[in-house]
């Protein structure tokens, strides 16, 4: 909703639509109408037609609405690489939702912490509730099985060439390992992250 309002203001203020910006506007309107598949298509086309770096961020947020958290996390990572300055608390909130849905609870918590009340009272309250849920989920020492789960998902994502996503899973695995006395597979997670960085590096 806020994305749509923001876009409308920006575009109307500009007075004229640059290449692809009509698609950006259409995407915002469709997002407002909760037609998320079409909104995602419009945002993606806008990005392809050079409507600006923010289109990729909005496309990523729309993927959260489409309940595609892993795709969203990959899209957020790509958008961040292209235009890190675009990120704002609302987009961080959507990114946190994607982390939460992908069971990356520490990732979600980190993002929600920065969201605070900067997005308004309603989302602020939802962010606080999510943080409370996450705190309850992480109150006990993580099991070795759960850490193994993150390693497995990291390996699967890496195999599919989804390196950003794989890095998120390994980061979560390493952070959870540190919450155990035996630091179950922490070194392995760190090694995987190091290898991923090498693979990602240009």
């Amino acid at each position: 909703m806020r994305i749509a309002a923001f876009l409308a203001v920006v575009c109307l203020a500009a007075g004229a639509l640059a290449a692809g910006e009509d698609h950006l506007l259409a995407g915002a309107q469709l997002f407002r109408d909760r037609r998320f598949q079409e909104a995602y298509v419009e945002f993606t086309v806008a990005a392809r037609l050079g409507a600006g770096d923010d289109a990729a961020w909005y496309a990523a947020a729309t993927l959260v609405k489409l309940e595609r958290p892993e795709d969203a996390l990959e899209a957020f990572a790509a958008a961040e690489r292209a235009a890190p300055s675009i990120a704002d608390p609302l987009l961080d909130y959507y990114r946190a939702l994607a982390c939460y849905e992908a069971r990356l609870f520490l990732c979600a918590d980190r993002l929600l912490e920065s969201v605070g009340d900067r997005t308004g009272p309603r989302i602020g309250a939802q962010a606080r509730k999510m943080r409370a849920d996450i705190a309850a989920l992480l109150a006990t020492e993580p099991s070795a099985d759960s850490i193994d789960w993150y390693h497995a998902h990291g390996a699967a994502a890496r195999k599919e060439g989804r390196h950003s996503l794989a890095a998120l899973y390994y980061t979560e695995a390493a952070a959870l390992s540190r919450r155990r006395q035996d630091r179950h597979r922490e070194a392995e997670a760190r090694a995987s992250l190091a290898e991923l960085r090498k693979e990602i590096a240009p």
Binding site: V45, E101, K129
Partner: protein, 470 residues
């Protein structure tokens, strides 16, 4: 939890709905839409792919790629809806309805998932001949192969092909850890099934009141004894469970005290079973020979008919047997005659082989000596439970009343007995072909002739080896 945050899920895009052209055509935008559509379709996101194809077609109504792709998606969606409906029908037990829809989907092109599910429906309807090619078709899809192999194994098992079934279960278990427990359990069963089944049994037992008379009457002075028993049997059924069969078996019971009552038995039987265990009719002829203490004791011909009908969890059965008995020793000769045995039973079957049931049985023994002729009848309740894959328990309890037809001059009474019976057994699969059985039984007999009132306790352990061939 998260549902309160993500407020709504987007509605699906209908790829079959008509597309209205945009007021202004834009080939460049159409191309961008098309690229997004193809990327989404490759990723398996068909809803967004459909949305993008529709936008491409709106921007360029003549775009052949968008038109063709949307038409394909439309066909796929229609098939998907039919698949969902077929699945719903299958789950509700409407297998015929599900088969009709699966066939419609498959008529539009190969669909391994529909082939698998139609094959399962056919298997459940006992249409094995139709099921096999469908399951073979599904088997070619690597993701469906383990499930298809599991059901191919079940078909083989039902047809008596133990070895073939075992191979299918082994492959299925190795390829999919999710179905490995079920496949391993079936593998054990398969190794004990086949067109030829050979079994051996041996074990000790103890009885406070060993049957020393043909009608089970006790012997003065008590007859508690321990025994060791060995038995072997061979079953041949060339067409599997449904079809003709022949059986031969023999056993020998060696008593510790009453060695003159050491019992050897041999049986040969042949018959025909129509249908499989859940729904079948069977007719059998058997010849029994018993030797007691090294001498011939009983020669008997028996005919048996039985039927079972199962619908979902309910299974009803009835049986009747007539045994034409000729006792070969002077003391037992008066017991010669014809014994009629009948039973009706109904049971409720649960998943995993557990069941509870009630039965009513009757025996009419028409002996040559009228004083030994009796009618016995009564109900019994039984239950069997599977506790895991390797352990089973069985319980049986009954009451029966036996009334003799004529006055027995020796006791100056017309004998009438009542029996209370209870039995329990535990079976443990020790290996694929080996089973240990621990059993105990109790009988309390009440009689108007005090001589025939007694309590009997018995129990034992047996080790069984069963091997299915072919």
């Amino acid at each position: 939890m998260i549902a309160s945050v993500v407020l709504a899920v987007a509605a699906g895009i209908d790829p079959c709905a008509p597309v209205e052209p945009a007021q202004k055509q834009d080939a460049g935008a159409a191309q961008a839409y098309l690229e997004v559509a193809e990327q989404e379709q490759r990723g398996g996101a068909l809803d967004t792919a459909a949305a993008a194809y529709r936008s491409a077609l709106r921007a360029d109504p003549q775009n052949p790629s968008a038109r063709a792709a949307l038409a394909a998606l439309c066909r796929r969606t229609t098939a998907g809806e039919q698949f969902g409906e077929a699945l719903r029908r299958m789950e509700s037990g409407d297998r015929r309805g599900a088969i009709a829809l699966f066939e419609r989907i498959r008529a539009a092109g190969p669909d391994p998932a529909s082939a698998l599910l139609e094959g399962i429906c056919r298997y459940e309807l006992q249409e094995d001949q139709e099921a096999v090619p469908l399951l073979r078709e599904a088997e070619r899809d690597p993701t469906l192969a383990p499930s298809a192999q599991l059901f191919l194994g079940l078909v083989s098992l039902r047809q008596g092909g133990g070895e073939e079934a075992a191979r299918s279960f082994e492959t299925a278990a190795a390829r999919d850890p999710a179905i490995a427990p079920a496949a391993t359990s079936l593998l054990r069963l398969a190794r004990r099934e086949g067109r030829i089944v050979f079994s051996l049994l041996a074990g000790p037992s103890a009885d406070s009141n060993v049957d020393l008379a043909p009608d089970g009457s006790p012997t003065a002075g008590g007859s508690e004894d321990a025994a060791g028993t060995v038995a072997a049997s061979l079953l041949v059924r060339p067409s599997g469970e449904s079809g003709p069969f022949a059986r031969a078996s023999g056993s020998y019971r060696k008593l510790m005290r009453f060695t003159q009552f050491d019992l050897g038995s041999a049986e040969a039987a042949a018959g025909w079973q129509l249908g499989r265990e859940p729904r079948h009719a069977l007719a059998e002829y058997a010849y029994d020979f018993l030797g007691l203490g090294g001498d011939g004791y009983l020669s008997a011909h028996r005919v048996l008919v039985e039927g079972r009908w199962t619908f979902r969890h309910l299974s009803l059965a009835g049986s009747y047997a007539a045994r034409f008995e000729s006792f070969l020793t002077g003391a037992a000769a008066p017991y010669s005659g014809t014994r009629h045995l009948a039973e009706l039973s109904g049971e409720w079957r649960f998943a995993g082989g557990s069941a509870v049931g009630l039965a009513y049985g009757a025996v009419r023994d028409l002996t040559d000596d009228a004083t030994l002729t009796y009618l016995e009848h009564g109900p019994r309740a039984y239950a069997r439970f599977s506790a895991g894959q390797n352990l089973r328990f069985a319980f049986d309890a009954g009451v029966s009343r036996r009334k003799y037809d004529a006055l027995d001059p020796a006791f100056a009474a017309t004998r009438a007995d009542t029996y209370l019976d209870g039995a329990a057994a535990a079976e443990l699969d020790l290996a694929d072909r080996w089973t240990g059985r621990f059993w105990g039984a109790w009988r309390k007999s009440f009689s108007n002739v005090s001589y025939f009132a007694y309590t009997e306790l018995s129990g034992g352990v047996t080790l069984t080896f069963v091997m299915g061939l072919l």
